[in-house]
């Protein structure tokens, strides 16, 4: 059961046996106040012992919002099955912003689809507040790399589209419209309510996509490389905007990215994924729960020199395991 500890990330038993370091030792805790730093002796959060009361375990922020256990997925290629990701164990606390970093093709997008209930994994389980997820949930919002706005609808209609579905509580048209306006304001857009998607820039379209997810007041936001198609300046402002928006709509965020700087700028925690197959290799905690979303501000990745170098070295090992450490270490941050 030790692998279910709060800061522990998943490794399959075969790797344990192959003599690698246990995950706990592989987890760096940075800038975390001692009082809140998870300890190996902390109570197991997902399944508290019956009859044992623990004030810390009962605190909302200590109980994981999302629990992923042993998630494994194969996809068929012809007659074969290719392993997309294996033995993923991951916890997300309420309001936590976790960046899932990994090289392309490591199965991180696929993992996000499985967590969203959009793709059934071969093995393992995903629980949201203790309830297993088998299909998409109204309390989970998702933003994709492309904005995927419906071109025949205006901006407001795109945002309210997801409010009018049968699985959502029925609300009056006026309420939907005012909620859409509020969501648009939270992503810093005004005056485009009646515009059509083809009239928006890439950054604006992505803000609308974010507003469309936020308007449903999700508890968990899954972001699949949402800013990777944008230019560097727009991306930076979108990252700041995301922090503002989730301060207003306090959701936990799991963000897939292949950009170290994005992960460093945003993440409370950075989780690095291995590839072939995708596994969680290592994680770095940059801010420990409980988290106040209003406290967050965009970090300057350049100021995180040592950590950035460390993550980059690790990422390079993932991309090409034969890169000697001397070369990896020589890469300037």
């Amino acid at each position: 059961m030790s692998e279910l500890l709060p800061v522990t990330v998943g490794r399959s038993p075969d790797l344990w046996e192959s003599g690698e370091l246990p995950d706990r030792l592989n987890t760096s805790i940075l800038r975390s106040p001692p009082s809140t730093a998870p300890q190996p002796t902390a109570p197991q959060p997902t399944a508290p012992q019956p009859g044992v009361t623990n004030a810390a375990a009962d605190r909302e922020t200590d109980r994981p919002l999302l629990t992923v256990r042993g998630l494994t997925h194969h996809y068929p290629v012809g007659r074969d099955r290719v392993l997309a990701f294996a033995q993923i164990n991951l916890d997300l606390r309420p309001r936590e912003l976790v960046c899932l970093l990994g090289p392309s093709g490591c199965g991180k997008s696929s993992l996000l689809l499985a967590i969203a209930g959009l793709q059934r994994a071969t093995a393992g389980e995903v629980r949201l507040k203790g309830q297993p997820i088998q299909e998409p949930q109204p309390s989970v919002g998702m933003v994709f790399q492309g904005s995927a706005l419906l071109p025949w609808l205006t901006v407001t209609q795109n945002i309210t589209w997801g409010l009018k579905l049968r699985r959502m509580p029925a609300i009056a048209k006026a309420v939907a419209r005012s909620r859409a306006a509020e969501a648009l304001a939270s992503v810093g857009l005004g005056g485009v309510e009646r515009a059509y998607p083809h009239q928006l820039s890439g950054g604006m379209a992505q803000r609308v996509a974010l507003a469309r997810a936020l308007v449903r007041q999700p508890e968990l936001l899954l972001l699949d490389e949402p800013f990777s198609a944008l230019d560097a300046i727009t991306r930076r402002s979108m990252q700041a905007l995301l922090l503002q928006a989730i301060a207003r709509y306090p959701a936990a965020v799991l963000m897939v990215t292949h950009d170290i700087d994005e992960a460093l700028a945003l993440g409370d925690r950075v989780v690095l994924m291995d590839r072939n197959p995708g596994r969680i290799r290592r994680q770095w905690i940059l801010r420990s729960p409980p988290i106040d979303p209003n406290d967050r501000s965009l970090r300057d990745p350049a100021a995180q020199g040592a950590l950035r170098r460390e993550i980059l070295e690790e990422l390079l090992t993932v991309i090409d395991p034969v890169v000697p450490p001397s070369i990896a270490g020589g890469v300037q941050p």
Binding site: P136, M142, L150, W152, R167
Partner: protein
């Protein structure tokens, strides 16, 4: 070589004037005038001194159109024909759109029916005429049947092609927002294939209008097709030409009307 000659001519004054005239008058009108001239020459009393050919001449035909419209002879026939167009198109859409969407969504169904549909589609709708009369009797029913058989294919195939071209990300997004299967069909796929459906309906109207005239020569007592047979039997050749002109004009109007609907899909 031809291009070179054309370019050379382009520099001369005559060609420039010719192009200028094209720009002012508009080439479509010029084409129409050319057709009218050809028509006039072919039916000219100079070539054909006989009286019968003169009945086919443009001046006689055009005045007859005005006369028939003025005295209300053509109106009931036009009304009957347009009613059949609307009913035939509606039936084709009611069958073609759902079946087309089902084909687009479900590949085994599409694979299973592809040979059958291509086979049936290649049979001229008019070949069904005797069968239609045997099955539906005399009257409007066999005409509706023929029009539907003719028009269902463009609607159906365009609907299926539309579904294939729906952006998969929209479907993923709709599912991530917890849309049910029917909500995905009704609120993503149906609006998304709008432009394809318009193309299908436009082609369908064209086919219907072409099949309508021979179909109306079949056991009905109204409509422009019936009117053509009637004028032939009455030897009223200028009225026959008037009917042909009316058919062409209405067909053009129907197509232009559906083309203008494309503006609804301004986003694409």
């Amino acid at each position: 070589m031809a291009v070179g000659i054309w370019q050379k001519a382009g520099r001369s004054g005559v060609a420039r004037q010719f192009r200028g005239a094209l720009g002012i008058v508009g080439s479509p009108l010029l084409g129409l005038l050319l057709g009218l001239l050809l028509w006039w020459v072919l039916t000219s009393p100079l070539l054909h001194p006989g009286a019968i050919v003169g009945d086919f001449s443009p001046e006689k035909s055009l005045t007859t159109v005005l006369k028939l419209l003025g005295d209300g002879t053509l109106e009931p026939h036009i009304g009957a024909s347009l009613r059949r167009v609307v009913i035939g198109l509606a039936t084709a859409a009611l069958i073609g759109i759902p079946v087309g969407i089902a084909l687009g969504l479900w590949r085994p169904l599409e694979q299973g029916t592809s040979v059958l549909f291509q086979f049936v589609r290649m049979v001229s709708p008019l070949s069904w005429m005797p069968l239609a009369v045997m099955a539906f009797g005399i009257g409007d029913a066999p005409v509706y049947f023929l029009l539907t058989v003719a028009a269902v294919w463009p609607v159906l195939l365009n609907a299926a092609a539309g579904v294939h071209s729906v952006d998969r990300r929209w479907l993923l997004l709709a599912r991530s927002l917890c849309a049910t299967r029917w909500e995905v069909i009704g609120r993503v796929i149906l609006p998304a294939i709008g432009p394809h459906l318009l193309v299908g309906l436009r082609l369908a109207v064209g086919v219907i209008w072409i099949v309508l005239v021979p179909a109306e020569m079949l056991g009905v007592s109204s409509g422009l097709g019936y009117f053509i047979l009637d004028t032939r039997d009455r030897l009223a050749y200028s009225e026959l030409m008037a009917a042909i002109l009316t058919i062409g004009a209405i067909g053009y109007g129907l197509d232009a009307g559906l083309r203008s609907l494309n503006r609804l899909t301004h986003y694409s």
